[in-house]
């Protein structure tokens, strides 16, 4: 069996809204394991907490309990629930990438610059970063005429390609996918699926949500059912 990259144990998220003085559990007691070169899929009804699980692992949401043990490239094991902000940020830049449902980029920034951004944070020159962004956009299949335009002017599907390219310009160790094909046409979806298969073959660990059950069946080695505040693993 391939190496464990992420072990989630009894992860919990409880939201508290102070204004209305209400609290609710997005999910509770989630445990799962993601291995190198395999795709673990999260399935469940809308509102079951699938996206919230991904966001807690990425620390866009603060988890309310449990552990997320991440095995880094250097062989360190980091609990993403308690890691410092700076450590979390470093891991996000180098090892853990996230394709969210919506793309947030700076308003006037070109697609190429938006994709290159994670690299500009590292040590390479801005020119090299832009060259790598170009290569990534080409691989993902965004039409060349769009490369130097701001993604705010793109269609939903085109934005999603930029979003994917942004996540993949750094070779991630763990890739979190939140419905990356939701707004794509069949051709782009095929490209995305090919890309995911390629990443798997290269040993990237993937955890994610797909809208389309057929795609999920085709891609996932393992499916985790999420719902009712309780989750259980299914072989």
């Amino acid at each position: 069996m391939s190496a464990t990259i992420l072990e989630v144990r009894n992860l919990k998220k409880r939201f508290t809204l102070h204004e209305t003085q209400t609290s609710f559990d997005a999910f509770d007691n989630v445990s799962l394991t993601v291995r190198a070169g395999s795709f673990t899929g999260l399935v469940g009804a809308s509102g079951a907490g699938k996206s919230s699980i991904l966001k807690c692992i990425y620390r866009r949401y603060l988890p309310s309990g449990g552990n997320c043990w991440f095995h880094t490239t250097d062989g360190e094991i980091v609990d993403l629930v308690t890691a410092s902000d700076q450590r979390t940020l470093e891991l996000r830049r180098k090892e853990i990438r996230f394709v969210s449902q919506f793309l947030h980029t700076l308003p006037r920034q070109s697609a190429r610059k938006a994709v290159a951004e994670p690299l500009i944070q590292s040590e390479i020159t801005p020119e090299d970063a832009l060259n790598q962004a170009t290569a990534t956009l080409e691989r993902i299949g965004l039409p060349q005429r769009l490369w130097d335009l701001p993604p705010a002017t793109f269609s939903g599907g085109e934005r999603q390609l930029v979003n994917m390219a942004r996540a993949l310009i750094v070779r991630p160790r763990l890739l979190l996918l939140d419905e990356p094909t939701a707004s794509l046409d069949p051709a782009s979806t095929r490209k995305m699926v090919e890309e995911i298969a390629r990443l798997k073959a290269e040993g990237v660990a993937l955890l994610g949500v797909f809208h389309d059950p057929e795609l999920m069946d085709a891609l996932a080695e393992e499916k985790i059912h999420v719902g009712g505040g309780v989750t259980w693993e299914k072989a």
Partner: protein
């Protein structure tokens, strides 16, 4: 790695009494002591400014943002508690132990600042180029040609037409004045940049261009930046880390996207809710 670390940093304005701290703060809903009228501008502030990152300090007017910035920058001396600064050679320096001349040296050589009001950051009686030359001179450069060359380069990099470098900034537009301030702040290649509401008084399109410039400079130089703003949009665009202040206290710290998507404190929830 951090560039600043504070512990229980506290700043009083007034006579102060033994109950000032407990009677003020976010939970008390005021920063004015009801017993003695002292303003507690900073109330046990603990924070870390990560090296090479942009830390956004957000909060409403009077929450202590600018007081914090003024103390770390070194134009305010009256705070108690600890504030450590890591200089470029890696030594940790307690700011409270420095005398005014030493703090001035830090401001002149290792820090840069951009104020909301250009009158505070620029000398309008001399030219735009002269404003930059002043800073370069302080850093020890004496050769006229070199100084002028450096001023030209900085103005060019910050988008000020260099043919106007011999004019007073008084005749410049608001956005252009901010650019000159930024060029001036960068003149000595500082390792920390303090930005105090730098886009607040500009109209939206100019604001956007200044933000682009700051972001580009940060990406190229990896400066550590302390960004004080009450505009969450500005913080969202620039900062990777964030602290939220209210009534002199830090009520929440976190990564910027986490603060925006999953704010924990009642006040932060109100603030984020109001901005969207």
């Amino acid at each position: 790695m951090t560039v600043f670390e504070t512990q229980n940093l506290t700043r009083f304005y007034g006579v102060r009494c033994p109950r000032c701290l407990e009677k003020t703060g976010a939970a008390a809903g005021t920063n004015i002591c009801p017993d003695c009228g002292t303003v507690v501008a900073l109330n046990n502030v603990n924070l870390r400014v990560p090296k090479g990152e942009i830390l956004g300090v957000i909060g409403e007017s009077g929450s202590g943002k600018t007081t914090l910035l003024r103390y770390l920058y070194g134009v305010d001396f009256g705070a108690t508690g600890s504030a450590l600064y890591r200089n470029p050679s890696g030594e940790m320096i307690e700011l409270g132990e420095l005398d005014p001349a030493q703090r001035r040296r830090l401001r002149d050589r290792e820090f840069g600042i951009v104020f909301q009001n250009p009158h505070q950051g620029l000398n309008f009686r001399i030219s735009a180029g002269g404003n930059i030359a002043e800073r370069v001179l302080v850093s020890g450069e004496r050769n006229y040609g070199n100084i002028r060359e450096r001023a030209t380069l900085l103005l060019d990099r910050t988008g000020v037409p260099t043919r106007r470098m011999d004019e007073s900034p008084a005749g410049f537009s608001g956005g252009m004045q901010q650019r000159v301030q930024i060029a001036r702040a960068l003149a000595t290649e500082p390792c920390v940049l303090f930005l105090d509401e730098v886009t607040t008084s500009l109209d939206l399109s100019v604001q956007a261009k200044i933000l682009d410039l700051i972001l580009e400079l940060h990406q190229r130089t990896r400066l550590s930046i302390l960004l004080v703003t009450h505009d969450i949009g500005v913080a969202r665009m620039l900062a990777s880390h964030c602290i939220v202040m209210r009534y002199g206290q830090v009520v929440e710290t976190g990564l910027m996207d986490q603060i925006l998507e999953d704010p924990q404190h009642a006040y932060t929830q109100e603030l984020i809710g109001a901005s969207l």
